[in-house]
Structure formats: C-alpha cells, structure tokens
Symmetry: C2
C-alpha cells in the first residue's frame, strides 16, 4: 500500500489569504487543493494562481461537478489542475465525460462521496475507469456532532476493495490517522487544521510523522 500524501485544502473566500497559506505550507504538503469555497468566491483564476506559484505540485480543483462534465473539466485542467472532483450525485454520463477529459490531459477525477450513494454506483465509477474517491465527513455534519464511525470505516474498506483509492477529509487530525490503516488512502486532506493554527508547519510535520509511523515509508 502506498504511503498516503498530505493535502492542504484552501477554503478561503479570498485568493490573497489562500496564497499566504500556500506560501507558508507549500514545502510541507504534497498536494494543494483549491477548495470549493475558494473556487466559487474567486473563480478558476484561483487554480491558475496556484499553478503559477507551485509549478511542480499536484493541484486539485474541488469543483464538485454535478453536470456539464466536459466543459468544467476542460476549464479546470486548462487552468492547471491535475485532479478535479465530481460529486457522487452526478449522472454517470457526467462522470464519464469528465473522466475522458481528465485522461486526455493526463489528469484524474475524484468522486466526492456525499449523501446517498451505493456500492453499485462505486462499481459503475470503477468500470468507467475512475480510480479515486473522496470520503468526506462534511463540515456541517462535523459541526452537528457526527464523528468517524465503524460504518464509515466499513464503507471505506469496501471502496478500497473495489480498487478505489480514497482521500479522506473532514476535521481530520494526526491522532485520527491510525483509524484508516487498513484502507487504501491516497491522501489525508486538512484545511483549517493546517491553515488556521498558530504553527502550521508543526501540524504538517505531525501528520507526516504519524503517516510514517503507520505506513512505514519515508517521505
């Protein structure tokens, strides 16, 4: 199993503030995500600015595409994204179109799992060639007290077993990582846990240390 990566999610409403966060953390994370809030507030110029600032990083456009897969994927990959998210509620036709554009650009799409979805959906995504999904404990779900449950972990394992690599997000802390040791994790995604703390680099280091301890590989 590959060593999970660490992804910084930028959910700022201001591009300038997001870029300050990147400036502090770019050498301490593996992936930089233009979060939905940032993309909606500032548009895809946010992705273009990140690509310019971090020419060699993996950049994710977290657009949660629900329709118009071809147009939005074209826009996102043109702007410099490597990966783009598609919401699980999107019709399969949208997933397929977005995946085709991604493939033609050497990129990937990630299915963002929110609300109702089934293992049959996941099988259909795999059959369409999709390799990644994002398992999400939502911001509002967290705030209303929902935590990581055995049911979450069981569903993640089922997705792993189908061949989907998961990125895991939603108020995750270094102390949580051991929960996911049997799952095929592509990345742990942290937003405010990294960008809204006093010592962001130290938190990033704590993530990497935990990843090293659990998955064993060195950076």
């Amino acid at each position: 199993m590959n060593r999970p990566l660490l992804q910084l999610a930028l959910d700022h409403t201001s591009l300038n503030q997001a870029l300050q966060s990147v400036s502090a953390l770019r050498n301490h994370v593996d992936i930089i995500e233009a979060g939905t809030i940032l993309c909606i507030s500032e548009g895809l110029q946010a992705v273009r600015a990140l690509r310019q600032m971090c020419p060699d990083s993996i950049i994710v456009a977290d657009l949660k595409v629900a329709d118009a897969g071809e147009t939005l994927a074209t826009e996102a990959f043109d702007a410099g994204a490597n990966w783009m998210t598609v919401i699980c509620a999107a019709p399969l036709a949208t997933v397929i179109k977005a995946h085709q554009v991604a493939q033609s650009r050497g990129g990937e799409i990630q299915i963002e799992l929110f609300g109702n979805w089934t293992l049959d959906d996941a099988k259909a995504w795999r059959a369409a060639g999709v390799r990644q999904a994002i398992y999400h404990r939502g911001r509002d779900a967290q705030a209303s007290g929902q935590s990581w449950s055995q049911q979450d972990l069981d569903r993640m394992k089922q997705l792993s077993d189908l061949g989907l690599e998961l990125s895991i997000t939603g108020g995750i802390t270094p102390q949580d990582l051991a929960l996911f040791k049997d799952i095929s994790v592509r990345a742990f995604i942290a937003g405010r846990a990294l960008s809204e703390v006093e010592h962001p680099k130290e938190v990033a280091q704590a993530f990497h240390q935990q990843i090293d301890e659990i998955w064993g590989a060195s950076r």
Copy 2:
C-alpha cells in the same frame, strides 16, 4: 396555481459573453441565473455584475452547494443573489444552514435534484422550511438521449403535492411546457435555448405565449 416565470440560465465561461446575453434578454425574462459554469469560471464577481446590471431582477446563484452551507450562502447573498441552489446530496445540516442564511436575507434556497434522492429527503427539506426545488434533466443526460418520461412527471407531481415549487430545466422548449400543466412550476429555466439562438427575444416570447396559453394568467 401561480403563472410560471421564465428564467435565463447563463452557462458561459466568460462573464463578458454572459453580460451580452443579459443585455439582449433582460427585458424578456423574469429571472436571471448565474449558472454553475459561469460561477466557477469567473467566481462570484459574476453575481455582483448581474446585480449591478439588473438591480430589480430575481438573480439566482446556481452554486449546487454540497457543504459549507453557511459560508457559501453568506457569500452568494452578499454578492446580490436572491436565490441559491443546494444540491440534493448535501447533508441536511448543510441545507438547514443555507436556508437559515437565506431567510435572514429575505432570500430562498432551491434544492437541485440530481441522481439519488428520495421522497423522505424531500419531506425533510420541507420540514426544514425549504419551498423550492429544481427538477433537472442534466446536460449530459440529455446528450446521452434521456428524455422527459412519465416517471419524471410522476415524481414532479409528488414533489408538488409536498408543497415544493419546482423550477424545471434541461433542454426545455416552448413545445414541452404543456407536459407540466398539473405541476406547481415556479419557473422554466432555459439556457442555450435562449442564449445560443439567432432570435433570442422571439424564443422568449414563444415561452411566454405558451405559458399564457397553459396557465392563463397574463404577464
């Protein structure tokens, strides 16, 4: 039953092109929508520009919010939107937060129905105070040949009967409108059918004529 309104959806990737479309059609439609493609390409400056250009129109921010309901609703209503869309896959906590922000601003949210959702979900949205939903034949679903079916119409009727007003979209033409005569329709949404035709005003007039014929009320 109220007379349905006509909504222009702007799915341009360029704000300038969108504003040209608005300039041609603003006096011939009732509602102007900053579509997802436009909002993602240009950010919420698109909504601000529409509000400035059309101070008295109903403006929709089609953000298909899946998480961070409070932040995104605050951003959208601050930018000048009257209505904002939330995707049906969003956790109920997100729907509630977005609805609360909307209410505090005299706005409304609209649940965008895509993929898996149930009548129990619809009852929960109603119980939370939501009054509008968008019934969507997706762009990619259209392209792959899916048409309006009796199943679509039956589900729309069930939603109507729960007290949800529907806006209906997805390659809709004036000739389709009679299909929806028993449904509580808030608006018919047309995008490329209005903005990518040679005579957009005539198409808008054809929509209004059909609405008048079927629903009887004058404009």
